[in-house]
Symmetry: C2
């Protein structure tokens, strides 16, 4: 295909903020850079967009290559285009954020790349490039979106307890929620299906497990329904 525009071009990358929820904490997946610039520093997974793949495809490819992740919730976030954000040359990055189900036993699998690590949000080290800005934007987006779309379930295993769900919301929103009001609200939509199973995690009453009814939600969504917390 001929190039019709011959001026110097910016390079185009995607970067991904991958969130997970584990041990009551919101975590983010970081990669230790093997090359200059910022060699040895932590950064978001990401890389160059190929000329024959969409932005979404590029983000998913990088997630698979750099973190072994696939079939995750992924959404475009914002495009970062200040002129000097990469010291080498002009690089414009289309940032995405992803939500993954980080059950305890998966932690290792997703981290099998020796250079990848899950960091609690509160303990993220200094990041390369403008990745701290990207992370901040992703956190803000997650915090606002979780309130009116049921994306929180993307961070939990398919079967979960109401307490797990509440702790997730508390971690994301960074404030405490009233247990009774929370349960009343999330159950009121009829989108949480109680399962026969219970979860026993210690010397206390076992917890009822639920799953999120995606099919019912999709139907409601078409009629303009909003899942608000």
């Amino acid at each position: 295909m001929p190039h019709t525009y011959q001026y110097p071009r910016a390079a185009l990358t995607v970067d991904c903020v991958v969130f997970g929820f584990d041990e009551g904490e919101l975590k983010v997946l970081l990669i230790e850079r093997a090359l200059e610039p910022f060699k040895g520093k932590w950064a978001l997974p990401g890389g160059f967009v190929r000329v024959d793949e969409t932005l979404d495809d590029a983000a998913r490819r990088e997630l698979k290559e750099e973190a072994g992740l696939k079939d995750v919730f992924l959404e475009q976030l914002y495009t970062f285009g200040t002129v000097a954000r990469d010291p080498r040359e002009r690089v414009v990055s289309v940032a995405h954020y992803a939500l993954v189900q980080l059950a305890a036993h998966d932690t290792k699998a997703a981290t099998d790349a020796a250079d990848a690590r899950w960091y609690p949000i509160s303990k993220v080290p200094k990041l390369a490039f403008d990745h701290a800005d990207i992370l901040a934007a992703a956190l803000a987006r997650l915090k606002s979106k979780v309130r009116y779309q049921p994306i929180g379930f993307e961070l939990l295993p398919p079967k979960f307890t109401l307490s797990q769900l509440q702790h997730l919301y508390e971690a994301v929103l960074e404030n405490e929620l009233d247990k009774r009001n929370f349960r009343k609200k999330v159950l009121s939509y009829g989108l949480l299906v109680p399962l026969k199973e219970t979860q026993m995690t210690g010397r206390h009453r076992p917890a009822q497990m639920f799953r999120f009814d995606t099919i019912k939600y999709e139907k409601l969504k078409k009629r303009g329904f909003n899942f608000e917390v």
Copy 2:
């Protein structure tokens, strides 16, 4: 600056959805294309991003060059990156939306480019490229954002009446609002300052004019306040 990445690169553009409000209608600024592809078709103003300017700068430059607009409200919207959206070659476009104060007498000025025209949203013709998708995304963003941020004022002159404001909201949200409840709500924040002036537009009682108190709003915003309608 040396290129460290030698594979073929996508071209990078910005496109702008420019909204105006006039005669009780929400309008969008379109440009008639002078060149192939889509010669003679209507399209969003936009163009290539230079290697030494930010995305925001590029969008503002294009708005000035193509539509004579400057100092407008501008915000990044979404980045469109499907592979074949431009028939010539791979072009990734960072879409923005802008809000301009389109007072009746300005209509001509902003439209002095012979190839530019304001279209009511309901009468937009078929658009070039994937610009219909971009417009749809911008409308959705405007509709949702206008409900929790006071961006509606960007579409009105600095002095306006409550009826004008209500009609604007009705046009954007595409539904009717109760006059008394609307006034109660928007006045309750104390962000609309009544002016000494009134507006007389016909044989009926003159309307009180207001201005939006930007300074007070900025202060409230820092304390976590939200302007909801």
